[in-house]
């Protein structure tokens, strides 16, 4: 799944960026998914937008921001590298995990639109 947010200085670039959702290399049965954002993203503002979208912020450790959903999914991002990981809860049936990851990805993309 690929989405292209509109130009925004918050993403640190002058033009459009393309975001791609892929399986994590260490994915355990489609539970972990990944996309990468520009390092120059305004991470604190993005964190605020994700919280406004209904995600629950969890403790930030070693530069890793973590958010949870009501159903136990997680979104993590590493501010120093721009890596974003979507962790689908293990109770989500295997065939629905891709769609659960896409829903998390959409939340992220719409949060970026609002920056």
């Amino acid at each position: 799944m690929t989405q292209t947010p509109t130009p925004t200085p918050a993403l640190g670039g002058s033009g459009r960026i393309s975001l791609t959702l892929t399986r994590e290399v260490t994915c355990i049965r489609s539970l972990a998914w990944r996309c990468d954002l520009p390092v120059a993203t305004r991470w604190t503002a993005l964190a605020g937008e994700l919280a406004a979208a209904g995600l629950t912020p969890r403790a930030t450790q070693a530069g890793v921001f973590r958010f949870g959903t009501a159903t136990g999914d997680e979104v993590l991002f590493v501010a120093t590298t721009g890596r974003v990981q979507f962790r689908v809860h293990y109770t989500v049936p295997h065939h629905e995990r891709k769609f659960a990851a896409e829903r998390l990805f959409q939340i992220l993309v719409y949060a970026l639109f609002r920056l």
Binding site: E24, V25, T26, I28, T81, R83, Y90
Partner: protein
């Protein structure tokens, strides 16, 4: 051989059952139900699932802090010590904020890990090895190789996935693929996750690695339960040291490899190949444990 039933895992010891370490998307309750569906004829008479009566364990001493302290020798500095200390302290700090889910599994560092009772591992390994030594001496090399491979698989899967995880990326940075970095990182992970105080005594890329340990979680158990060993018995660290050499030398970390079973087989069967020898062992009464890995 007996195994802890899922019901016992849920009700008695509150740890994840072995079933759900493979069926990672399932619960102890699921495993309990699934086992009910097994027909009696499908069960191996030598491998029945049954609760181990508590009375069997009653006479065995608990491994308390005093026993652990008795068998731990003062830490020694190794190569790249300052960086290893800094990273392992960061990992310890990180782990304080991590909790298990309702199954007892911790989803972190790209893996599901269990906050495992070391005594469970120790008893499984050493009782099995001793039983084979007593009853089928010809098979001792085979079971020792299996126990060694358990350490090898653990380092490949767990340490490897830690190195590729976002948590590690935040703590240390993305993987560089520099062999000396990988070696130091694995040593820090071992300390941070509580495997013991491991240190790098010598490392010549592509040739030789010497890992020393002033503590491992097997030693207090073994010494208090069985006394001095007659031969080196740190099977886990033997396999781990060999796997660290392979991870440092043969994995292209910057390409973010998927650490699958197939890749494991390919990696450990391809060239260059290494052998490991344990030259010193705390369980045998030596001043520390030492593992020497050399290219074949």
């Amino acid at each position: 051989m007996t195994h802890e039933t899922p019901a016992a895992s849920v009700n008695r010891v509150k740890i994840p059952n072995a079933c759900i370490t493979c069926h990672t998307d399932r619960t102890n309750a699921w495993a309990t139900d699934a086992l009910r569906g097994w027909s009696t004829s499908a069960r191996d008479a030598e491998c029945e699932f049954a609760l181990t009566p508590a009375t069997i364990h009653a006479a065995k001493p608990a491994i308390d802090e005093a026993i652990v302290r008795r068998h731990v020798v003062p830490a020694v500095r190794g190569l790249d010590e300052d960086r290893i200390v800094q990273i392992s302290n960061g990992l310890l700090e990180f782990m304080r904020g991590v909790a298990g889910d309702e199954r007892g599994l911790v989803a972190a560092f790209n893996v599901f890990v269990a906050a495992h009772l070391p005594g469970y591992y120790n008893e499984t390994v050493y009782e099995a090895v001793h039983r084979v030594e007593r009853t089928m001496a010809d098979s001792v090399p085979a079971i020792e190789a299996l126990m060694r491979e358990a350490g090898q698989v653990c380092v490949f899967s767990t340490f490897g996935n830690v190195l590729l995880s976002p948590e590690w990326e935040g703590l240390v940075g993305p993987p560089t693929g520099v062999p000396t970095d990988v070696m130091s990182f694995c040593t820090a992970i071992a300390r941070g996750l509580g495997f013991g105080h491991w240190l790098i005594a010598e490392y010549q890329p592509h040739k030789r690695l010497v890992i020393q340990c002033t503590s491992t979680y097997e030693v207090p158990f073994y010494r208090s339960r069985y006394g001095l060993a007659k031969k080196p018995r740190s099977y886990f660290v033997q396999g781990a040291a060999l796997a660290m050499m392979v991870l440092a030398e043969s994995v292209q970390w910057t390409e973010r490899p998927q650490l699958t079973n197939n890749y494991y087989v390919e990696l450990f069967r391809s060239q260059p190949r290494y052998r490991v020898e344990q030259t010193k062992c705390l369980m045998r009464g030596d001043a520390m444990s030492e593992l020497v890995v050399e290219a074949l």
